[in-house]
Symmetry: C2
Subunit: 334 residues, 2 copies
Amino acid sequence: MTVTLKDVATLAGVSVKTVSNVVNGYAFVKPENRRRVEEALAATGYRPNVGARNLRRGRTGFLALMVPELSIPYFGELAGLVITAAQKRGWSVLIEQTQGTRSRERETLSSLGPHLVDGALVHPEALEATDFPADPGGLPLVMLGEHAVDVPIDHVAIDNVLAARTAVSHLASLGRTRIAAIGRNPARGTSSQRLAGYRSALAEAGLSYSDGLVAPAEKWHRSVGAAAMKALLALPSPPDAVFCFNDLLAIGALRAVAELGLRVPEDVAIVGFDNNEESAFSLPSLTTIAPDKTALAEAAVDLVHRRITGDKTSPPQDIQTPFALEIRESTGGR
Amino acid sequence: MTVTLKDVATLAGVSVKTVSNVVNGYAFVKPENRRRVEEALAATGYRPNVGARNLRRGRTGFLALMVPELSIPYFGELAGLVITAAQKRGWSVLIEQTQGTRSRERETLSSLGPHLVDGALVHPEALEATDFPADPGGLPLVMLGEHAVDVPIDHVAIDNVLAARTAVSHLASLGRTRIAAIGRNPARGTSSQRLAGYRSALAEAGLSYSDGLVAPAEKWHRSVGAAAMKALLALPSPPDAVFCFNDLLAIGALRAVAELGLRVPEDVAIVGFDNNEESAFSLPSLTTIAPDKTALAEAAVDLVHRRITGDKTSPPQDIQTPFALEIRESTGGR
DNA sequence: GGTACTTTTTACATCGTTGGAACAACGTTG
DNA sequence: CAACGTTGTTCCAACGATGTAAAAAGTACC
């Protein structure tokens, strides 16, 4: 059924290795033979057996990408970009979902052998330092997004603290004084960083910090954002602005405000984080921190590429990719 | 660096095959030896080389999933479910993106060898019958969603015609008489089916069909939906309801209506298709056709599983998975 | 002790590919 | 024409695992 080098060789009347040489673009093959081999290749429709090739070469041709859930827009978008970036460099991408749970993250991490994939991009959510295998078995690992833990591993992300500060400063610059936040979650490193940025922007603007204005969120989903927003608006003195730790929370918050008959941005201004595609089309459209996801994906794939092809020794890198504040209707922009 | 069977065998003082037997749960191994091997396995942290194992077994442990783009919510959600369903049965999923272009789809399809993956789930958008390899090289293929072309291949989808008719009948039942549609695209089979459903619902309701009320859409993206809606509303006698061929178009349409100062559903009722998560949170929330995506993913993985494990001969199946009309605010629901 | 049978282990070939070395053919040069 | 370098081809081993068959060890019985 399947065509192997041997079949092609027989048909072309040369040795297996010569066919292999043609397939791999080896220069010194007599034109006559090359022609014959190429004809035979075409005639048989030969396709290399990737498994065997990789067994021989010690490569697999696969990268793993570990994310919480593809159904979350941010990860869907990011995964798409990673796949595209990886494809450019000849890799296929294998996706593992962890649902953001620590146990699944740990499990996934330890199941990634160097046989299975050449390298892995991991976007943890709940992992702690001790979860990282002391020796990943020589498997190049690049951590995405989260820099929760103090592990000597390559890392690519935006500056979460600065980005959060930028978002909140924007709200302050509009004259808002009771600026709330939604998304506190001690188990997530990202949350602490965005919270830190929030606090530092408040301080900078001369506003006082109040625990009561920081709503927790176990999952950063739309429904959670809506519930949190309702709780905030039920406070004796409700906020006049909210910084949501991601766009989903913000979309939920938008809806909650509308359901209570209030207006965005007049009564409450809202800023999100991630710049999901949907956020440009919500009503009102959402002001948000827009990480350069393409840059993130490219940098991560590039880094793992470098680690795989040679550079095993240089110290772990910490790459920061750019972001921008995208001002839209939810804070009075057009 | 990497531990092989041979290393384990040396350490345990037995042959390679005995270790292999232990690893694979072969019954006849002396308890004493089994213990020694298991200790050695634990001590070395042995992990089988999947590539080598599969080379020998003729399996790869991978399924391919071909979709247009993961950044499109429908495909992000679907891919997540497929991965989960595949994982249950011991497969990892490899994702290929085609951007919905025929050339990339064809290319991807032909690059999927049986060496690379055990089976493939493909969600084509622009493929035509002639693009399908006469002989997929024994690779089990299951087509998702689209049933554009008349190819004898396993297929899982909802009844697009019926679903579209359901959506449009709902609009008609609200008393709307000028019901438009957005999403016509002759290159896409799905489009024809939904258009057919639209026409049949109109006929059933005693409404006449007009080409002018059917807006084309090259890409089914939000911005396209917005532009199409604006065009429709600029007509001499604009529609009082719109059936969008997917939720993204509908979200764009919602926005266009709002920008023109009109109201949904009072001035224009809108129905979408896909039930993206975001559609439950838009303002107003979106009435939409909700395919049971979990059922779809499960059925597809199940089918490819059956094909891989034996059943190569029975005729191509055509499985229909359920859907429901989700009535929300954009047509006056709560 | 020998035969027949069962259980356990081993050696060897094999999956499809590529790297390396050996070999063959060739034209050039002294 | 012998020696040589260059070019092209082939043979063999190897990647890490498993199937097969045969060898080895153990058991039971006469």
